[in-house]
Structure formats: structure tokens, C-alpha cells
């Protein structure tokens, strides 16, 4: 998971050499002298990216392809490979390598051009005619005759691995946890890294750079209050779980003993969890009973007028991806870019909200469950959760459209919540408190159309951010592969404007693509 490990606060004015001093902690803009006085070694480098996940990876990919040498880039991260956090989250939320993701064929973090698309690559890697034709037919007929084509998780990971090696990404990686980014008097920034214990002679290292990019993913897991209360009060982390936590024990138990599960949420994770429960039910002939609880319950297509109707039904809102597709390049991208403040927040409300893709196999499973009586769905919000009679299972008290209701369950799987406040991340909190960063209409980090964090400029340096912590800005699709690439391209073009690298035109682009296609290193 993301989020910083708590570090000991330096309460006393005396600190060991190479650590943060109270002077540094309290000063917004640091001078070189202050850093030197603290005894923190300084490493100069033009460009630093913090996080080292998929957002950092695609940004480095763009810059390397535009022509920035690996020596001018440093990636500060705790990860061994860029997709590590992502693979963890997808695996626990029921997308192993063989399952398909939720992004389209052109969303390729291993290929800035999106050509050939995943579908074409999958077809040409096929071993028989059917596997060759299916992906091509799928992208050709989507979303009319078929559901949107989506790549397998494994294909995305192995593609990224190949691109990572091609661009020599690991040369730029420095391991550790970033504590803060501060502006530097005289321009640019200091990024403070805490290397793993024993890996460096000092406790901190300062990377001094003209440009900083922050892509730290999810600030944290948000457990809803009822769930937290249950865990704190009854000290039981097993019967009530969040889908983003490892929870295999639930599926294991259900195989041993029949049981009832309450699933909360109406997003893709809820869909995946239901699929896993029902697949197991079918495969092992189980008696699992499922109750699904939606906070917002859609009985059918919904939206403000005939030009804005989103399909829905049985509680769900259906949408191919987490936003309508044209936010990644068409009409809605253009429209959103023009909105500010309240109008922007409102548009986010209308297009976003919790939704899941329309997939025929999922619909079939739920329909079967409904008719055979082992699957029910309802509108409701949890009031509280308490242990069941004789310590077996739990009782969930809910407020529903039919009034108050109590349901017994052996397990509750909560499928909401990677939405923690940006303050949960120490780095982001520090930016808000000391570096002039502010919040956008959705409460996240306020960035402009070039993904520069508004208010943090330290001339001639610039500080950028991408990924989920910037949701709510002029471009809504930030927390996706394609969105991270769109951000990376904006950042690379902005860096070209200030002269850090040459803007890539058609000639270089073709030449670089040709290298990519033959897997030639940069």
C-alpha cells in the first residue's frame, strides 16, 4: 500500500547529523546553507519523480523517448518494479494475472503511442486461429456487439517489464521513502529521501532538482467508520474485511462451511468479488448466500436528459471505464478543461460516481442468483456492525428505503474506499502546509492543465503531480493508465516549453516508435 510509515518526530532540537533539523522542518523555503548545516548530503539531478509506480514509470518513459538521458532522472521509491503496488491491489481485489483489467486496448503503459494496441498484440501472439481472431473482432465490434476489449493483467505487466528494461529505467531508481519536497531559495526543489536503514551513511539524502514530479498513487485505504468501529471495538479483523486487503480466508472458509456474505458497494471491485464468490459457488457446489448493499441504487438508465443517459439497472450504473470514454481525448475532455470550481465539481458528480462495466458473464451470474434465490440486492447504508449471536458471524444494522433492517452475515466484504484524504500522505500534507499547494474542487491536489501543482512554482523550477491525488482537476481521467500517459505527455511538453528537453515532433516520434517496435534500447 501507499502511505508513509510513521517516522519518529524530531522533538528535541538536537538531531543526529544528516537528519532533518527543526530549522528545516519549520522553514518553507530552504537555503543551501540550511541543508549543509544539517549535514544532509545533497545529490544534484535535474529531474526527480517521487513514487515509482506506474505514474512515475510512464513519465520517465516519455522523457526518455523525448530524449532525456537516464542520468538526468532520479526515481525515488520503495518499489522494486513500477507495477508492484498495482499488482498487489489488483491481486487482492480478485484480478490475478490471467484476468482482464478495466482499460481499453490503446491504454498501454508500455507504449506511449498506443500502437499497436493490446488487442493487436494479443492477436499476433496467439497460438491458434480463434485466439487470433477474437481480440480483433472484439475491438472492431466494441462496444456495440461485444463488451469493450480489455487486456489481461499479465499482458500489461510483461509489457511494462520489457519497456522498463528497454529504457534502462532501473538505472534511475533510488530506494527509500520520500519525507517531503520543499522549495529551494534560488530556484528548484529539495526532495528528502529516507533510504532503507543501513543503506546509506546518513538518515536522509536531499535530492536537489529543478523539476519534481509526484505520483504516489493512493494516499491510503479508507475504511468506513462503521467498519473501523467494529474492528476497534471487537478486535476482529477477519469477519469484516475491505476488498483491498488480503481476504482469501473468506473464500477458504466458505468452501468449508456454507455461509452468507454481505457485499457493500456498486463498483468494479464489488463486481469482481461477486464473480469470485459465484465462481467458487459453481465450481465447488457451495451454498453461499449473497446480499449486496448499494448506497445509490439505480433501477434503470439515469441522467439529466436524453443526451446524457447512462445505462443502469438492479442497483448498478454501467459504464465501460470509470469515466465516459471521451474524457480521455474527445468531447468530454475538451468540455471539462473549460470548467472551473463548482461547475467542475458538478460535472464530476454527473459523470463519475460509482459504476461498473457491463459484462455479460457478470449479468448472467447475478440473474441466475436472483432467480434461484441465493443473491439479493438492496439499497441501504450501514449503521453499525456488531458480533452475531454466540459469537458467530456479525449482525449488520442498516437504514434502507424500507426502514431499519438487521441482517446476519458470516462475512462482510466492503468494496468501497481507496479514497483517503490527501493529508494521509505525509508528502502531500507537507506540500499543503509548506509549499503553497492547494486543493481543487474535489479536495485533492490542485493542478493546472499541464499538471503543474498550482502555487508551488520555484522559478525556474516546476513541480508536477499526476495520478489519483490530482483527481478533480481540469482532466478527470487521471487515475488510469491512459490518464497517467496523458499527464506525462503534458508534463513532457511543458518541460519542452521551458527548455529541459526538445518537444517531440513527427520525425523523432516515428524513429522512436521504430526502435520500440524492434525492442532497441534508447
Amino acid at each position: 500500500m501507499s502511505g508513509d510509515a510513521p517516522l519518529p518526530q524530531s522533538a528535541s532540537p538536537r538531531t543526529e547529523p544528516g537528519d532533518l533539523t527543526p530549522e528545516l522542518v519549520e522553514t518553507d523555503i530552504w537555503t543551501d546553507d540550511m541543508v549543509a548545516r544539517a549535514g544532509i548530503p545533497v545529490v544534484p539531478v535535474p529531474f526527480v519523480t517521487v513514487g515509482g509506480g506506474i505514474g512515475s514509470f510512464v513519465t520517465v518513459d516519455y522523457l526518455r523517448i523525448y530524449g532525456v538521458p537516464a542520468q538526468q532522472i532520479v526515481v525515488l521509491t520503495g518499489l522494486d518494479v513500477p507495477w508492484q503496488s498495482y499488482e498487489y491491489l489488483t491481486r487482492v481485489s480478485q484480478i490475478p494475472r490471467t484476468e482482464r483489467l478495466r482499460s481499453d486496448s490503446q491504454s498501454r503503459p508500455d507504449n506511449i503511442w498506443g500502437f499497436p494496441s493490446y488487442a493487436v498484440s494479443e492477436a499476433f501472439a496467439a497460438k491458434n486461429l480463434k485466439d487470433f481472431l477474437w481480440p480483433l473482432w472484439n475491438v472492431f465490434t466494441e462496444p456495440i456487439l461485444t463488451n469493450y476489449y480489455t487486456p489481461r493483467a499479465g499482458q500489461a505487466f510483461s509489457g511494462m517489464e520489457k519497456e522498463m528494461n528497454r529504457i534502462g529505467y532501473l538505472q534511475s531508481v533510488r530506494k527509500g521513502q520520500v519525507r517531503m519536497v520543499r522549495r529551494r531559495a534560488g530556484g528548484g526543489y529539495y526532495t528528502i529521501l529516507t533510504p532503507p536503514a543501513g543503506a546509506a551513511p546518513t538518515k536522509r539524502i536531499a535530492y536537489q532538482s529543478q523539476y519534481v514530479h509526484i505520483a504516489i498513487g493512493y494516499p491510503g485505504l479508507r475504511l468506513l467508520k462503521d467498519l473501523q468501529d467494529y474492528r476497534l471495538t471487537y478486535r476482529d479483523p477477519t469477519k469484516v474485511v475491505n476488498a483491498y486487503e488480503p481476504h482469501e480466508h473468506v473464500y477458504d472458509q466458505l468452501r468449508i462451511r456454507p455461509g452468507k456474505v454481505v457485499v457493500r458497494g456498486g463498483g468494479i471491485v464489488a463486481s469482481r468479488v461477486l464473480q469470485r464468490l459465484i465462481d467458487d459457488r459453481d465450481k465447488y457446489h457451495l451454498q453461499t448466500e449473497i446480499l449486496q448493499v448499494f448506497r445509490t441504487f439505480y433501477t434503470g438508465p439515469h441522467g439529466k436528459d436524453i443526451f446524457n443517459r447512462r445505462p443502469g439497472g438492479h442497483g448498478w450504473a454501467y459504464q465501460g471505464f470509470n469515466y465516459p470514454k471521451s474524457v480521455w481525448g474527445g468531447q468530454l475532455k475538451e468540455k471539462m478543461a473549460k470548467l472551473e470550481g463548482e461547475a467542475r465539481a458538478q460535472a464530476y458528480e454527473e459523470m463519475g460516481g460509482t459504476n461498473t462495466p457491463f459484462r455479460r458473464n457478470w449479468l448472467e451470474q447475478l440473474k441466475r442468483g436472483r432467480s434461484q434465490g441465493w443473491y439479493r440486492e438492496m439499497q441501504g447504508t450501514f449503521d453499525n456492525i456488531r458480533p452475531g449471536p454466540n459469537g458467530a458471524g456479525v449482525v449488520v444494522a442498516m437504514d434502507t428505503q424500507h426502514g431499519r433492517l438487521e441482517e446476519y452475515a458470516d462475512f462482510v466484504i466492503d468494496c468501497t474506499g481507496l479514497e483517503a484524504d490527501i493529508r494521509e500522505s505525509r508528502v502531500l500534507a507537507d506540500l499543503l502546509d509548506h509549499s503553497g499547494a492547494g486543493r481543487n474542487p474535489k479536495g485533492r491536489l490542485d493542478v493546472n492543465a499541464q499538471f503543474e501543482v498550482i502555487g508551488t512554482r520555484s522559478r525556474p523550477g516546476r513541480l508536477y503531480a499526476s495520478g489519483s491525488s490530482t483527481l478533480g482537476g481540469p482532466f478527470p481521467g487521471v487515475d488510469t493508465f491512459l490518464g497517467l500517459q496523458i499527464s506525462a505527455q503534458e508534463i513532457a511538453d511543458d518541460l519542452a516549453r521551458v527548455g529541459f528537453v526538445k518537444r517531440m515532433g513527427p520525425g523523432r516520434s516515428i524513429a522512436q516508435w521504430w526502435r520500440w517496435a524492434r525492442n532497441r534500447p534508447i
Partner: protein
């Protein structure tokens, strides 16, 4: 590529003119037009121009239809199949004398020219064009 109206128009005009133009240059000599080469070129280029001019009008209709789609997208198969209505209309216009400068063109010659040109443009817009123009797909099909 998920088009905006402006992007549609730019893509229609530029891709048809440049890519379609090159293709017309290459393919015209082998088309069964039954006419001398100079005259054939005249005919095929007028047809190409008609695809652009009428196409601009069609794009307004497509853009309007796109408004009924929640995702404001334009499925790639539709980009291919709209060749049917566009191709038929031009054929009809040629035969009623509605395309200035084109009196007659053999059915096969027209079919081959139109279908191959349409397919080429469609295929290019669904992939290879992203290679030279990295910003095009994120800008709703705008080049400028």
C-alpha cells in the same frame, strides 16, 4: 481516437486529402476506367474532393448522433460502416449528374477507388496515425 467536431473536420479534410491523395495517385493507373490516364486522374481526384466536401457535411450529422451516446464516443466500426452511406450517395450523385466534372465512371472503377480509399483512411485513423502524431488522439482528432 474519440472525435470532437473540430477534430472530425480536421481529420476528414487533412487525412483524406493527404493520405487519400497519395493513394489516388497510386491507384488510378490500374483502375478499369476505360479512359486515358489524364482523364482518369481528373475523375478520381474529383471523386476524392467530393468525399471531402460532402464528408464535411456528414461529419455534422455524425457529431449530432454522437450526442445521444453517453460516452460521447464513436465506435470504430461505425467509422468503417459510414463508408456505405457516403459511398452510395456519391455514386447516386454521379449518376444523376450531380458531381460537376464527372459525367460517367464505370461501376467497378468507382467501387475499387472508393472502398480502398475509405478502408485505408479508416485503418490509418485507427492506429498508425498515432505514431507520427502523438497528441492527435488526445485532442479529439485535431492536428492544429
Amino acid at each position: 481516437m474519440l472525435p470532437t467536431l473540430n477534430g472530425r473536420l480536421q481529420s476528414r479534410i487533412l487525412v483524406t486529402a493527404i493520405l487519400g491523395g497519395i493513394w489516388t495517385l497510386l491507384i488510378t493507373p490500374v483502375l478499369p476506367t476505360g479512359a486515358p490516364l489524364g482523364e482518369s486522374y481528373r475523375t478520381t481526384f474529383i471523386i476524392l474532393l467530393t468525399v471531402i466536401v460532402l464528408g464535411v457535411l456528414w461529419e455534422f450529422l455524425y457529431h449530432f448522433l454522437q450526442q445521444f451516446r453517453w460516452e460521447k464516443d464513436w465506435p470504430s466500426s461505425w467509422g468503417l460502416f459510414t463508408g456505405i452511406n457516403e459511398g452510395l450517395l456519391i455514386w447516386l450523385l454521379i449518376n444523376v449528374g450531380g458531381v460537376p466534372g464527372v459525367a460517367h465512371v464505370p461501376g467497378w472503377a468507382y467501387l475499387i477507388q472508393f472502398v480502398t480509399t475509405w478502408f485505408l483512411i479508416w485503418a490509418a485513423q485507427n492506429g498508425p496515425l498515432r505514431v507520427p502524431f502523438i497528441r492527435w488522439r488526445f485532442n479529439g482528432g485535431r492536428f492544429l
